[in-house]
Symmetry: C3
């Protein structure tokens, strides 16, 4: 006999995304597009271009995961219902009289609801991506992580690429692949679900789905209400960074210092400066040595 | 017993494109490449690069449709005969002594013949693309339209992308996906043939092929002779635009106007200006209201 | 009974690339990445971006050939061992205390050994690509050449494209597809192995593998020791250029000259200048004619 908790999580994890959660996802994605400068003008002058961009925003993650697995990138178009749904939402958002939808969306509760439901679809996409990749490569856990990640957060990669081709975006050398918060949390989720799938993590999938979704939605709502741009992963990242790259600092910051004295490479100095901030203790020890 | 009309259209629609129509297509494509500034210089300095670009011009639509259906983009190279044919045409066009081919091509009747035959291949490509996409996705009529379109008019997308990578083209934000006349007529054809294929259009395929081809060739020849850049779709487009986006104008132009007064967004004003031009009657009605 | 030569070449051609030759390949690839300006700073600030770029450098050829054959570009990630190996090498090269690996690599014998072993992997990749393409297209010898070439030298195409997307590289119109020495030698090898595979070249595969590898390694070591940038293909290229494009020069240089007099196209003049340099004899003959 299942406990109420089991029943809740089982019911939650067998919930269908279509249509309400999908609608929320399309709504949030197209509203994000509409807020870009010039998007409204493009929609009036060249509706097909605007529609195409909106589809990339709505189905970007799926397209990227299809490309990475060499499946037809047009696969999403075969699901006529979802394409028509997304197109309708694009249509009413951009061309609704008096801009009613945008005005409705500007209310905080509506935004919270839509954003929360969009985060739910993210879990479903990650799980779908991990499972799908597993059907291709039995032991390819790196592929599973990558596909789960691509499907959950790949939309931003696709839309950035589209902006690049369109000429409305020029990347800076150092902002390429600088991960945003959604990218990080999706990567984390993709790793967790892959470990669950390969049975390295002893937790039932429906429980994990429920917990991870609650985590996503909770963080999202807190971030939106408090309007902070805090990254909840900062401590985790710092720890990981320390484990992976920290132990060399006592060597490398020393080395870098002498390097700066001898040469004056701009890139080198900025690097050692960022290291210097995090390792005061290490530095002092060396100051004695180098002096 | 078939009528003469039936016989004519059946014979026409079972005509083979190879070799004469293919030759006309390659000829027109490579001549279009040769007219680009600097193309001749590139061919002398770096023949491989020039050959590669010429192949993209000749087989671009097929490559794009392969990419979209996750088939090998190199598939066209497996057809050795056609690749050698296209390469020979590239070779004689760029390296023929005294530039004889270009001089021959500058005669109007030759151009008319080649351009007309090239338009015939367009119909064959659209039909091929629609049928091919149908073998993947039974009910995916959106995919069928997209593939028919990609195969018929995708060459320009591929060559634009190649110019972007090469650095010889920088798109403006508003010219991205601004459809040219061939793109529009191919989209129309792709929609028609998809409807024919899904049996929503009660006309035999061979008749439709004949009529659509005659339409394409006729428009092309008239355009070339009169040297007009008129778009025969202008009334149709205006009607469609009115049906889809027109009815909001009485609301939105009103709204936009007050928006301009309160804020001074550049994009917003240019939009309402373009709308203003097409709806004088609507505007007057509002002027009274807003005054 | 096999002769010692046969035994040697058979043993050589059945040698496994994993792990030592693969390590050498990853080492040379990642060191090439590290020498790019700013790469070290990126690795400290954004390790994931740096790791991603390193993987593209290590597996670029395989990724390109997968894309061209519509196989999953993520296929290389399924080979967990090689990915972990390449990641470890990336890690110790970028984050090793005191930069020990870079210092060790700066010794000429180490460089020679690593570069030589990397060239050995090139032969294996070309042969693998040609064989793999043949399994798709039985008679597609153009495809076989293209895939052998892509797998052997496609890494630079992929990394250039990545730099383009990242914004740290802007191509000039005339340097696009200007083939480097590795690209040329790989193309030559790909053609040779394709002809061997289609039995147009009467030589056993293991002999050809041995000879071509020795040729590659020899050229590479001589180039590194003498620090020359001489291209050993210059005579071959000139001969080929003469056969293919030379015979038109007496016509076209004549024509070009009169063209320059009548018009003043910048591109045209630079072309005829480069031609002029190679065909003095031809020119003199024409000077009489035109005077």
């Amino acid at each position: 006999m299942a406990s109420p908790w089991e029943e809740l999580t089982l019911a939650f994890s067998s919930m269908s995304m279509f249509p309400f959660f999908d609608i929320a996802h399309y709504l949030v994605s197209v509203m994000a597009l509409k807020r870009q400068p010039g998007a409204v003008a493009v929609a009036w002058k060249n509706p097909i271009s605007s529609w195409f961009t909106a589809m990339l925003h709505c189905f970007g993650g799926g397209i990227l995961s299809c490309v990475l697995l060499a499946e037809p990138p047009l696969k999403f178009l075969a699901n006529n219902t979802n394409v028509l749904l997304a197109s309708s939402i694009w249509y009413i958002i951009f061309f609704c009289p008096y801009d009613l939808v945008s005005q409705g969306y500007s209310l905080l509760p509506v935004q919270l609801l839509a954003a929360g439901m969009k985060e739910v679809t993210r879990t479903w996409k990650i799980v779908g991506g991990v499972t799908h990749a597993n059907s291709y490569y039995k032991n390819g856990w790196i592929v599973m992580i990558a596909i789960g990640w691509a499907r959950g957060a790949g939309g931003s990669v696709i839309t950035n690429f589209e902006q690049l081709v369109r000429g409305s975006w020029r990347p800076q050398a150092d902002e390429w692949l600088k991960m945003s918060y959604p990218a990080k949390v999706t990567l984390l989720g993709s790793i967790i679900f892959t470990f669950q799938h390969t049975e390295h993590l002893a937790i039932a999938k429906h429980n994990l789905v429920f917990l991870y979704t609650m985590f996503l939605v909770g963080i999202k709502i807190v971030t939106m209400i408090t309007e902070t741009a805090t990254v909840p992963f900062a401590p985790l990242e710092d720890a990981l960074r320390w484990i992976l790259f920290g132990w060399q600092q006592q060597f490398s910051s020393h080395e870098k210092k002498s390097e700066i004295k001898s040469s004056s490479r701009g890139s080198g100095s900025s690097t050692s400066k960022s290291i210097a901030g995090t390792s005061d203790k290490v530095k002092k020890k060396h100051t004695k040595k180098t002096d």
